[in-house]
Amino acid sequence: MVSPLLILAAGLGAAFLLGLLRQTSERAAFYVTIAALGFMGFIALSWTVGLALGDALPVMITTAGTAPPFAINLFMGGMEAALISVVTLTGLLSAFYMRKDLLRLGRRVMAVLLVLIMALSGLIMTRDLFNLFVFIELIVIASAGLILLSRDTRALGAGFKYLVVSQVISILLLVGVIFTYHANGSLNIDDIPARPMVFTGASLAIFLVLIALVLELKPFPANGWALDIYESAHPGFSAIFSAASGTAAAFAAFKLFDVAGPAWLPLATGIGIVTFVGANLLALAQSHDRRLLGYSSVGQIGLVLMVIGQADILGATLPYVAGGILISHAVAKSGLFWLSGLVKGRELSDWAALRDNPVLIVAFATFIAMLTGLPPFPAFYAKWALVHALMANGAFALTAAFLIAALIEAAVLFRWFGMAIKRESRRAVVVNLTYEAVVLLAMGTSFVLSWIWGAASGQENLITLVPLLFALLFLPLDIFPAKAKNLLAIAGLVVWFALSFHGLDPIRLVFLIIMVLGGALLLLASFHAEGRRMGFYTPAMLMFAGMALLITSETSFQFFAAWEFLTVGSYFLILRGHDSEPHALSYIVFSLGGAFALLAGFALASGGKFTFFVSELSEIAPQVAPYVFVLLAIGFLTKTAVMGLHIWLPGAHAEAETDVSPMVSGILLKAGLFGLFILLLEMGHQTLYGIDLTVVLVWLGALSAFVGAVLAAFQEDAKRLLAYSSISQMGYAVFGLALMNHLGWLLALMFAINHFVYKSMLFLAVGGVKERTHTKLMYKMGGLITLMPYTFVSVLVGIIAMSGVPPLSGFGGRWIFYNAIMSTDLRLPMILVFMSGPVGFLYLFRLIHSIFLGQPKDELRMVKEAPFWIVAPQMLFVAFLIAFAALPGMILRRVDGYIGQIFGDQPLTWSGRIVDSQFGTWNPVAIWGVIAVVFITILLLLIWMNHNAQRVKQFNIVFSAERPFKPQTTHFAWNFFAPYRKAMGFLEAPIATGFWTGVSNALHGTAEFTRKFYTGNGQTYAVQLLLFVVAVYLIVLGSMGGAS
């Protein structure tokens, strides 16, 4: 192993050497710079690897041949080596990235860059307090120099503000340092004893040191200067400033907090969480890309500081957690800054230019997923461990603040991503191979880091999961035609099913069939797509991977990771739709919010235990159990779109692509239902404040069923109608589950199957109609029955099945349903659910009536049947529905037996094809017979009556001379249910939408108002800095007074 001191010596030596090179060759100077940075990076990496593998031991490096504290010493341990690797490699890549500007300004600026990286490495290694100060000043001066790399003239002002603020910080730091020296008789950091948090003598001195180091981390709100730098500096330098400087400064703060003792940790926690919340909140109002990244940088470092504040509860896992966040931040943020150099405009929507190059879009998505802590990236493991530690120690408010701020951050970043995908780009992307190579290297690193964090997690290493790798495989395969990929995707799903279905209980098996085989079936419709269909298969397979893993998951970690996979995959999928930008955003925000509720719930349930099996949910302590139940239920209900948490669903499902709508509606919603199954299976009845929580669920289910149906009835958009109908249907299922009896569960499962079949079918059918008519608005259609007969048949069968009239399987559902509600005593919600049946008829009728019956529109006269690949799966569904209606026992019997084991009863008797319950008998075959007879009779009657009918041409009507102002309003299907709307319209009042819009507006308003605080005046920033210090001082002083 080479001595780590050479990192410093190489940086400095090279910086000095540059002056000796021939004046004319800046190119040679550049290569020397690169070589030196590469060498520094190599030493750091070799130490990281050596320490990680145990080939090397942490080493204390003394200088001047004298032992500390009498001479300055450095320390190289695992954390140091890893962070110096981050610093030096960021520097190296940024040097490549800034090549042109470095050559333009010459060797002096290269020397400054070398010194900066050297000083950052020194800051990480040094164990001497004053040496720390020297390195910080070197960093300040070098940063002020590199700010000049920018061609933006405003950077000058930003640099000066930075110097002003740094002066104030260094004054505080020096005063603190010298009094600390006086108190300890030593400048060595390791000689600083743990001190109580009081404001006299040595403690006050250490406070000054700590607060100065915290100020270097740009805490909210004393950080306007840093934001100005991020906004105006060269992106290559911003990458260093955010990733490398942030990392080094955070580690410096950690070193001091580590020795200052546990009494000071609340300081780090408090400032950290305020910064994380504040920065993310204010980022909401940002439209400038680099400034937004600045806010996000500030927030992430604040989060790291908060984690440092948890040193006492995290113990030995602190490096893992803090490192996971820090390294994710470093890689993703530098990657995004580098990426920003490829975009010409500075508005967020200008990033749409990246669409010119799909690889860059993948990089963008990777960085955003990494920042938001999605699996399989390191921050995901860190978030998991952190929340578990916090919940186990009762830090509920802190957890809540953390999760809410993380959600806001995700909203900010995904909104940006949505703009990049959906907006029009005004200017083309910059073509620069160096830039792209640097970005791609960062992206590659992120996957390597994911592997490392996964391997060290003690849990499953997510990046090695076959379904995930299969989904990622489609990234390189994206150059092939869509049809080939589709075949591979279907084969993959079928194979995965064959591999994983063994040994599952019937309930899980049913869900696995729906999610994996159902997915394969729906993918048949995707054969319709022409060309390459870039960016479809990875998200789709990611979503299916998530669902497949969800069903087979055993531990809470697996469950949660799978949940996030399916959420992210489906988000990207939904975002592909035509007008889906706002809807996809609201989908991801609600989904992640739900996921965070799950995370908190699992963390609370596990009580800090490392591996927690989902089946252990039944054994948790009764005092926390109801809260766990509530948190998990919120998470699952978000997915099933229960009333109140439903507002994301209509847009997301309606705006998605033709073959995506059935996937996210027919299949994805079942994930929430599956979660509820597991939850109720393991936890059963829970009581909170004397309220039986399952009763609350019953009510929520009933309300969703009823209101969803009412809202569906008033839609003009066919896909939205189906979307609202899903809310209603999921309400039925939740209702059934929450009844907590055998028949209720059977009902829920029956609904899961049925809803998958007919909702997939109807979405495909309506999608097919839309393909041909280019509209989703029903009043623009009409009379398509003869033009699209197959589609008509599938809609007809679909709505018969769905409305629960005999003979199709929906009737079986109803039959079980009536049996189920007869055996419970919750009368009021029962009536509500009962009422939603007829309301369901209203909207289902519209599908047939407005689309297929009546007069065909003139412009739609030439419309053809929907494409073959869209019709084909529908026909399969029709066949299945008929078979399932005739022979329900083929699926239900096994499930019924299994549910019987759970509840210990057997209310249904299966004799042959006849099912008996205490209230009556269901004989599917007999029903078919009766229906056939009735149908044929009526048909014959109609044929007989038909000879009296008079054939009229379509335009054989009389027009008046007037032309209505809005012609569509004269269409017979316009505002079809006006009378009902008069009666029930109040239910349409957008209470939930209003509520969430209010929340969103309040947040935006706060952000818009608060950021005015950053006046841009350097002097004001300095005043704010002092104000921050004094405020912290007074708050701590006040809290001490309260404590003593």
């Binding site: 010596a9 400095l12 030596g13 009498f70 001479a71 002096r108």
Partner: protein, 235 residues
């Protein structure tokens, strides 16, 4: 009084109370603390330097000093960068000034060699008497300042200054590394014999390092001064 002055005043008053707490709690040491005592007792044996502060600066806290030299190096480089774009056209700079008088010109010619010599004396003797590389370097640079004042149109070779600066810095780093190979660690001064206590050739590498620092600091200050001077507006 406006809020613009009132707010800082209130803040500084509060900061002042914190400072006052430090002041009020300050008890002067009666004895040297352990670090200082170590230096008092061991400096001579370990470094051979007569000036304890020098021993600390160059050897014990040599890494700080290397950083400190680097600060000046950085400043010189950045000032050069900042001002590079605003350089006055060649030959125009300073030409607008009146010629300096005979007295100043002659005085400068007489004084500059003495000043340079004095500067060299100060940094060569840094390990024995008060002073050292930084002070000596500053004195050297003041000689240069005098020359600039006497003749504002005078040009110094940036190349020469930069070469002196760089080679001194590089040699400094190499000396430090030699300490790792030949003696106890980075910047250990015992790579050379400690010599007779109190003589000019003593204290190992300390005089050598201080000479390098002196040259480097002198060159850096000169570089900053010339950069600043060359930006002078021609009008």
């Amino acid at each position: 009084m406006t809020t613009r002055t009132a707010i800082p005043l209130v803040l500084l008053a509060l900061l002042g109370t914190a400072f006052f707490t430090l002041f009020a709690g300050y008890v002067p040491d009666a004895e040297l603390n352990r670090t200082a005592a170590y230096y008092a007792n061991q400096t001579v044996a370990e470094t051979g330097a007569q000036n304890v502060v020098t021993a600390i600066i160059v050897t014990y806290r040599g890494l700080d000093t290397l950083g400190e030299v680097t600060v000046l190096f950085l400043t010189a480089a950045i000032v050069g960068l900042v001002l590079a774009h605003s350089k006055a056209p060649k030959g125009r700079s300073g030409s607008g000034f009146l010629p300096s008088g005979e007295l100043l010109t002659t005085g400068t010619r007489m004084l500059v060699p003495v000043i340079l010599l004095f500067g060299a004396y100060v940094f060569v003797n840094g390990h024995l008497t008060p002073g050292g590389g930084f002070q000596g370097g500053a004195i050297v640079a003041s000689g240069l300042l005098l020359m600039l004042l006497a003749d504002p149109a005078e040009r110094f070779s940036h190349g020469l200054i930069s070469r002196i600066e760089s080679s001194a810095g590089l040699t400094y780093v190499i000396l430090g590394l030699l300490g790792m190979i030949l003696a106890g660690g980075f910047l250990d001064n015992r790579i050379l014999p400690l010599g007779t206590f109190g003589s000019i050739l003593s204290a190992g590498a300390i005089p050598l390092i201080y000479i390098l620092i002196g040259l480097k600091v002198g060159a850096e200050f000169s570089s900053i001064l010339t950069s600043l001077e060359e930006t002078e507006d021609a009008e």
